[in-house]
Symmetry: none
DNA sequence: CATGAATGAGGGTTCATTCAT
DNA sequence: GATGAATGAACCCTCATTCAT
């Protein structure tokens, strides 16, 4: 681990920030906490990121799991569930980043960021499956399905209800397929046997 | 009326606290904010409640809408959706209290409080409908449906996706009925024509 | 000296601020310095004044010596010299407040404040003596005389040139009278025998 | 040309420092400001000058306009006024360096520097004109005249009173001659028709 | 020799909370 | 019992300066 390495230091700050901001939210996290966690002087946060706010923005920049939108259309919902249930979000404290960001949703900026990622990534893709704009209330049904995914993420990690907290992707497969098929008006498959390329 | 002043002051503090905590979250709310909002000296918060934390606990004490669990079983889900969509949560800044509390979920205490209300009120009632403990994965299916309700609440107010934000209970009725029926394995009705006894 | 006395505490803060700001200037003075000097907690600065800047503004609020503009017109210049030379400016570190404020003249706000007091109090009164607006270049001559007063104040305290630093009002009397008479185009008297009501 | 780079870099740092220190004062100027202005790494300030303080000292080293003390004695005061009013002090932000240094007069070192230049250059020369040490109060009268010059500089640039701010040397000529003659006890001329050898 | 990463002290300011009055 | 003055810790951030590379 080389000292005096700009990129390495930046990365360590980002890593610590990601974890703290996810677990404790923006307000409950101090720059000194992040500095201590990463073993880096707090001043460097301002040198490299300018402000606590900008560090937050960069640390929580949206990262949909790669490949989420690629692959067979009928498996899209299954891939989304896997993103919530299976994907390795250790970097974000074990939660889907969107769920973690809710903890900072007291600030309108954060709400805006959540809104953009939910709409651009999830709702948009699901709306296309639901028949696009030509179909009556495709948007609403896409939002309802997105709401379900978000809700599952919250009950799993924030609320930690007993069954969802320990559920694996396979446990949810039949229910997912049934509900998605009902909402989108077209057959959706469950989850493939293996976890695919997911971590 | 010196006797009732104490109660009136307490009530005003609680009211202001409820609104602030819901809108801005625990950390972003200062006791001085609450004092100013309610026109009361900040010291009284400590006299009456002991600490900011205890004021928060009391202000956000769970309040399921009255009558939520009463009435025909097949309309339970419809009543729950109405609790999220229709009920007048002005006191809590316009959001379902559970959704508002997510903003303060940086603290484990708050998570515990959310967990209890979600499980005790929503999951429990839905599990009974899904067949009780004797039925395979009734708990999981109840949690999945609860997750959906929570998710709808979040997308409506926090994320404010376009269609859900403006949806009324009637818009969601058919979808609700279809999904609930599928998940619970028994027919659930949509919403009655009128808003029922909801405020 | 009563504790927990709002006005007394405010006054002590103002006194300490006046001295520090005068001696060291705005930037070199920290709120903690002022707090330590006055034996008051630094937080109270913000409670009572809102910000360091507003404390500065209040501490350096212009105070022309009372009676400066009252009395025989031909003695006005003499009174002004006395204000610079004799008046007890201990509160401001021994200098005329305007001179002290030059130490903070890096900030445009302060320059504006100096400008207003110089123009409103000194230049205006002298311009009237020089013949008012109807006389050719009365304004210029009034400004030139004001410049002289300011310059005397600076050489006395900031630069501390040997003779001016120790000069008393009587030492300057003949020169003052001569120059003022020449500049204003009307006879100005020197200083009265005694120091009058000045401290 | 690696040999001259060092000198060129030093010169650029000095130039930027001169401007910043003059305009904003010592405390409000950061070494990073100077480094940025000159396009030079901030570390070089410490390599070349040792500290911010020593850079300040070097950047504000006294520079009486060349030729100030040469020429006919009866024109000395006129030349001094020209130094304040006409000389191109762009390097110092447009003000006479002594005036600019008042902005940093919170520090005794700076006051000492101002004192030396005022005494050695201005007061000394004027005292000789006033009759030298053998004449009663020649020193005082020399200081009074110096005070006037300093005061004019301040009202022109810091305070920016309307007439002095726009005055040119010619506007001040008659008043200068009259006052100087009165104070020094010997005839002083106004300004020559042209600007003379001034830059 | 020059770059820039690192440092530690201190800046103004706000916080929840306590204690006189 | 109610008011508000006082407190001290902590906040984000900037500073002049040093030390590896």
């Amino acid at each position: 681990m080389p000292k005096r390495d700009r990129e390495a230091t930046r990365a360590r700050l980002l890593e610590a920030a990601r974890l703290r901001f996810a677990r404790e939210g923006y307000d409950a996290t101090s720059v000194r906490d992040i500095a201590k966690d990463s073993g880096v002087d707090a001043t460097l946060i301002f040198r490299y990121f300018g402000s606590k706010k900008r560090l937050f923005d960069e640390a929580t920049a949206a990262h949909a799991p790669p490949g989420l939108l690629d692959g067979p259309a009928e498996e899209l919902v299954a891939r989304m569930v896997r993103a919530v249930v299976l994907h390795d979000w250790t970097e974000y404290g074990g939660e889907h980043p969107l769920v973690a960001m809710l903890r900072s949703s007291a600030h309108e900026d954060t709400r805006q960021r959540i809104r953009e990622e939910v709409c651009d990534t999830y709702v948009t893709a699901l709306r296309d499956l639901a028949g696009g704009e030509k179909t009556e209330d495709a948007e609403l049904r896409a939002e309802l399905l997105s709401a379900w995914l978000v809700g599952i993420g919250i009950l799993r990690s924030v609320v930690a209800t007993p069954e969802l907290a320990k559920a694996e992707a396979g446990d949810l497969a039949p229910h997912v397929a049934a509900v998605a098929t009902a909402l989108l008006g077209r057959p959706m498959s469950g989850l493939p046997k293996d976890g695919g390329s997911e971590g």
